[in-house]
């Protein structure tokens, strides 16, 4: 068996080493180097790029990314939990349709989904057009290019990531427990609070991490919906590799981002095991 298995694994291993692990190692190396005069990287080795992460100028962007990702994750969980509950309680035939409807927009291009919000929110967009023509407002509201727009875009983009784990968690929930609670006189809210929520903790944790990670690394959403004042870590990284031409610093930010992602995932896997995801 070993021979066939080795042949089968070889191409994937090759691609993974050459196009994932080596590039990542290059970035690790770059993060300890100094920016060249014309961009690029040169010696000497230094920790300065990591120290700059705490520079208030960049710290504020990192902080904002954390705050916005947390807000988007919290909103996703708040929206996804009741929806997952609704789907889990539907009858078998409808369940699939309801789930399908959650995933369907997900199959459309991410760019298209983000553009749909630009279309709704911009000054000449649909919401402003309607409000203006109804004479509710006299000047267009600044709905696009701010942090709220980015958070809405993130929630819109990653909501299915929260619904699916919560659904599979709620699906496995023993319905007898709820009946027992009701028989013993618990009100629906009480059984939700004392039975459903505690038993859904693993699902909530998985959903939270699965949403938080892509939010933290988001690039397109803040770029298109946020404008210059609401950029996030992803945009900062892109900026260092293009306009600013400071590859070592961009590499250091990338690795800080990767470290955050890995800490979150490891914590989740430690706590709930691999079936959590």
């Amino acid at each position: 068996m070993n021979r066939l298995r080795a042949i089968f694994l070889a191409p994937a291993a090759g691609f993974t080493v050459l196009l994932f692990l080596i590039p990542l190692s290059i970035i690790i190396g770059y993060s300890f180097l100094t920016r060249g005069v014309y961009g690029g990287v040169t010696g000497p080795w230094t920790f300065e790029n990591y120290q700059r992460l705490f520079d208030p100028l960049y710290g504020v962007i990192l902080w904002r990314s954390l705050v916005m990702s947390t807000a988007a994750t919290a909103l996703c969980l708040l929206i996804a939990f009741p929806l997952a509950l609704f789907i889990a309680r539907a009858d078998e035939r409808r369940k699939n349709i309801y789930l399908y409807l959650v995933i369907l927009p997900f199959w459309t291009s991410f760019l298209v989904r983000t553009y749909a919000w630009m279309f709704l929110l911009r000054d000449s967009g649909l919401i402003n057009s309607i409000l203006l023509s109804l004479k509710i407002i006299h000047e267009p509201l600044p709905l696009l290019y701010n942090e709220t727009a980015v958070v809405v875009g993130l929630v819109y983009g990653y909501l299915p990531f929260a619904v699916l784990p919560l659904f599979s968690n709620l699906e496995r929930l023993d319905k007898n427990l709820l009946e027992a609670a009701a028989d013993l006189g618990a009100k629906p809210f009480q059984s939700l609070r004392h039975i459903v929520l505690p038993l859904c903790a693993p699902g909530l944790r998985a959903a939270g991490v699965l949403v938080f990670i892509p939010c933290l690394g988001a690039y397109l959403t803040p770029d298109l919906l946020g404008g210059g004042k609401s950029i996030m870590i992803g945009n900062l990284i892109q900026n260092q590799f293009t306009t600013a031409r400071d590859w070592p610093f961009g590499a250091a930010i990338s690795l800080a981002l990767m470290a955050l992602v890995m800490i979150l995932l490891t914590a989740l896997l430690r706590r709930d095991g691999e079936e959590a995801l």
């Binding site: 009741p82 789907i87 298209v112 279309f119 690394g217 397109l220 590799f241 990338s254 990767m258």
Partner: protein
Amino acid sequence: MKLLPVFAALVYAFLHVPLLILCAFSFNSSKFTIWEGFSLEWYRAMFSDAQLAEATWNSLVIALVSTFFATIIGTLCAYGLWKRNSKWLSGSLYLSLVTPEIVTGISLLALFQWIFRYWQIQLGMHTVILAHIAFAIAYVLLVVMARLRTAEPALEDAALDLGATEWQAFRLVTLPILKPGIAAAALLAFTVSFDDYVITSLVAGVDSETLPMVLYAMARRGANPVVSAISTVIFVGFGVLILLSERMQKNP
């Protein structure tokens, strides 16, 4: 608990209405977001745009080629890992799945720039295709692996006991069971490749502009009904593709 269906309906509206509005307004005769009448003007503009046609062609070529390779490589890898797990390989592949796209993109860019210092090659279709195969393998692995978990290892053992070679056991016993999973994986690989902007824009050259790159540039420039028209075509196209694949999986 009567509130639950109402809430669910609102969430579904939140998920679908923005896209439906976008589609509806692609048929608007006005350039502005006020409905003035039905028109196919933006679709005509879309089909007569040469740059758009080239980008769509590039995207299709890239997506088809990378889906082909990623599906084969990912399926073989899933099978190999199912036989016996290799922690570093499955770990790296899952890590690549959660790595932010921007980090994948810049690290690939760094790699290509580094190689090009020694060899006179430039960024282009080939670098985009390589990048897409690399990130699509993990998606294929995820889907095929899920299917393999429901497969029965004893079936292959039986085949081996009856004198099949290992290759025959794979080819004639397990592979047929995997078919629906492989089809789903290929569809997912195609979608992530066709849709990718972040990684592609970093490793693309002058001759390899893709549809998402053109769409992005148009969206950034401001309101443009042609973008709505393209969005509608992509939306409907993927919808049809998914329906077809569901059909195929139900009655193979």
